[in-house]
Structures are given as structure tokens and as C-alpha cells.
């Protein structure tokens, strides 16, 4: 870990996070729901000011969704992966668009693909999908194959054995 990462870790110690070192420049920090925004703000003041990504992992067996915030420092290239888990059946969280304005697009995307609602972010129009009529598609209990079968017809193939045999014998050019 770099020096600035150690400093940042010391600064967020009061939120008692679960720290997991992934490699030299990457640290995963898991915190409780209520502390996540404070942790993000503290890290931002410590130089981890670039919000690379907000994404989500669906832990269907635990009944939880894990929100993942990736912060990057331009000083030494360190990366903080800050995660928290929320209830899967009532996926609600607070927005961080006051800290990083760009977050509103990530939050729209998460609302579209995982159904997570962000309090304080009212602009939840679909960002990528058009006229979507099913459950959020990146949840684990959504079956894309069934959906694809019902909406997009397949091409039917018929096996022509005689023609294949002729190709094998070299009578016609396959």
C-alpha cells in the first residue's frame, strides 16, 4: 500500500470498516449503509477525488445487493473500492450526486439495470434501454434466454444429410 492509502485508511478508521487488501494499489473497504457517504467524503478530502464507477453486484442467495463505488487518486494511482450491502427486496439508497455530479448517470444506470432507487436523485429516466417492459435485466433471477425467445425469433435450421454427404465425398463444393 502506498503512503497516501495508509493515511486515508487511518482517516476512515473511526467508521470501523472491513478492509481487504487486493494488491499494492487496490484496497476494498466494506462499510455499513449509514456510514458509506461519510467514508466517501473523507476519502475525497484525502485525495481520492475521482469517482471511476458506481456499480452493483446481485447476491441473490443472501437477498442483498452490493453497491460498489470505485475511487481513484491521481497523485499515486491508488484505488479504493468502497462497498456496502442493501436489502434486495427494497433496494433504496441515498444519492451521492451532491459529492460527484457525474454520479447521477451511474445512478440512473443502476436504477435501470438493478432497480435500485436513489433518494434525492429525481431524474430516473431510462438511460440505455428503450421501452423496457420486464424486470431489471441484470438481476440474477431474470432469464435473458426466455426473454430472447419470446421477443426475438430464431432462425430455423434444417439438416440436409444428402447435401452434406455430397460435400464430404467432394462431389459438390461446400
Amino acid at each position: 500500500m502506498t503512503n497516501s492509502m495508509n493515511e486515508a485508511l487511518k482517516a476512515i478508521e473511526i467508521f470501523n470498516p472491513m478492509v481487504e487488501e487486493i494488491d499494492e494499489r487496490q484496497v476494498k473497504v466494506s462499510v455499513g449503509n449509514d456510514k458509506l457517504v461519510s467514508v466517501l467524503e473523507t476519502l475525497k478530502s484525502k485525495g481520492y477525488s475521482h469517482l471511476s464507477l458506481i456499480t452493483c453486484v446481485d447476491w441473490i442467495d443472501d437477498g442483498q445487493l452490493e453497491l460498489v463505488y470505485i475511487l481513484f487518486s491521481w497523485q499515486d494511482g491508488g484505488k479504493f473500492i468502497v462497498t456496502t450491502r442493501i436489502d434486495r427486496n427494497n433496494p433504496k439508497f441515498v444519492t451521492v450526486k451532491e459529492i460527484w455530479p457525474v454520479a447521477r448517470f451511474y445512478e440512473r444506470e443502476l436504477h435501470e439495470f438493478f432497480g435500485v432507487e436513489f433518494e434525492g436523485n429525481d431524474d430516473m429516466k431510462p438511460l440505455f434501454l428503450e421501452l423496457w417492459d420486464e424486470m431489471p435485466p441484470l438481476r440474477k433471477d431474470f432469464d435473458p434466454r426466455e426473454y430472447s425467445k419470446s421477443k426475438f425469433p430464431d432462425r430455423k435450421y434444417e439438416k440436409d444429410v444428402i447435401k452434406e454427404a455430397k460435400i464430404f465425398r467432394g462431389e459438390i463444393d461446400g
Binding site: 417492459d133 435485466p137 430472447s148 426475438f152
Partner: protein, 178 residues
């Protein structure tokens, strides 16, 4: 097939020597086009030129997968093109969905929505395959067999019904344009 008049046959001969291509590069197949256009394979020696606008183009080359969002734009583009117009489906994604056969947003076969004259199989097809397909299309035009645009007019109801079944609505509502 209806018998062509002499003038139509001459027109088809001339058409096949100068086809301008609008490439709809949403998929990874766009990667194979720069070598096809430029000095290495040089498709301009067959009279094929890249064109930027649908109104002036003859071929619509669809490179790779189409999802529901891009298919709406493709249908718009195809209907804007002037007759006669030809469609080339490029790569296995346009034939049967390719590796996206079970995707929730990617269509499985292109000829269900717009008529396709030539398919190029492969993932990816090499520039040689593209040139082979162009030659084949030129031959079809000369014989008067490349009649996808006529089929689209004759079976317009069928195509429209398929489009609505998969897309819900063909009209484009775009937050960046409204």
C-alpha cells in the same frame, strides 16, 4: 420474376459498377472495414465507395450485432435510402445472433425485419470475404436478382408486424434530440 426490359438491364449493368456504401458500424465488424477501404484491399477498384448519408447510398452494410435500440435507427436509415437499395448482413450476429443469441436486447436474425440480399458468414469475416460478397452482390444486381427493396415494398405489412412484435414501437424517442 418479372422480365426486365432492355433499359432496365442496361441500368442494372451500370448500377453494379458504381455502388456507394453506407456502413452502419455499431458492432465490432467495423474493424475490418478500414483495411477493405484503404490501399491494402482497396474496394474502390470495384467502384464501391463509402458514403456518409443514407440518401446518396446504395448499399447498407450492417456490421455485427443489432440491439433493439440500434435496430430502430437501422429501420429509419433503410427507409430513408432511395431505391434501388441493397442490404448486406455482415458477420454471424446478423445471421442467427452469434454469441448474443440469448441476449435480452439483441435481435437474432436481421432478415426478419429488413430484407437482406447477401450475408457474410464468419466472426469476423476477413476483408477478402467482404470483397467476395461485394462481387457476389454485383453479380446478383447484373442478373436482376437483388430485389430486396422490392420485397420490402410487397411484404411491407409482414416486415412492419415483425418490427412491432420485437420492438414495440419503431419510432425513436431520444432525450438528446427532443
Amino acid at each position: 420474376m418479372k422480365e426486365r426490359t432492355v433499359w432496365e438491364q442496361i441500368a442494372d449493368q451500370l448500377r453494379s459498377r458504381s455502388i456507394w456504401m453506407l456502413h452502419y458500424c455499431t458492432g465490432c465488424g467495423a474493424m475490418e472495414l478500414p483495411p477493405t477501404m484503404t490501399a491494402r484491399f482497396d474496394m474502390e477498384r470495384f467502384g464501391i465507395m463509402p458514403m456518409a448519408t443514407p440518401r446518396q447510398a446504395d448499399i447498407l452494410l450492417i456490421t455485427g450485432y443489432l440491439n433493439t435500440k440500434t435496430l430502430r435507427r437501422v429501420i429509419y436509415t433503410y427507409e430513408q435510402m432511395a431505391d434501388p437499395k441493397y442490404v448486406i448482413g455482415f458477420g454471424s450476429c446478423t445471421i442467427n445472433g452469434g454469441i448474443y443469441y440469448d441476449s435480452y436486447s439483441t435481435i437474432n436474425r436481421l432478415d426478419y425485419y429488413i430484407p437482406v440480399d447477401v450475408y457474410i458468414a464468419g466472426c469476423m469475416p476477413r476483408p477478402e470475404a467482404i470483397l467476395e460478397a461485394f462481387q457476389y452482390l454485383m453479380e446478383k444486381i447484373r442478373k436482376g436478382e437483388a430485389d430486396g427493396w422490392k420485397r420490402y415494398k410487397e411484404n411491407y405489412e409482414w416486415y412492419k408486424q415483425n418490427q412491432i412484435r420485437s420492438l414495440g414501437e419503431v419510432y425513436v424517442h431520444d432525450e438528446f434530440h427532443e
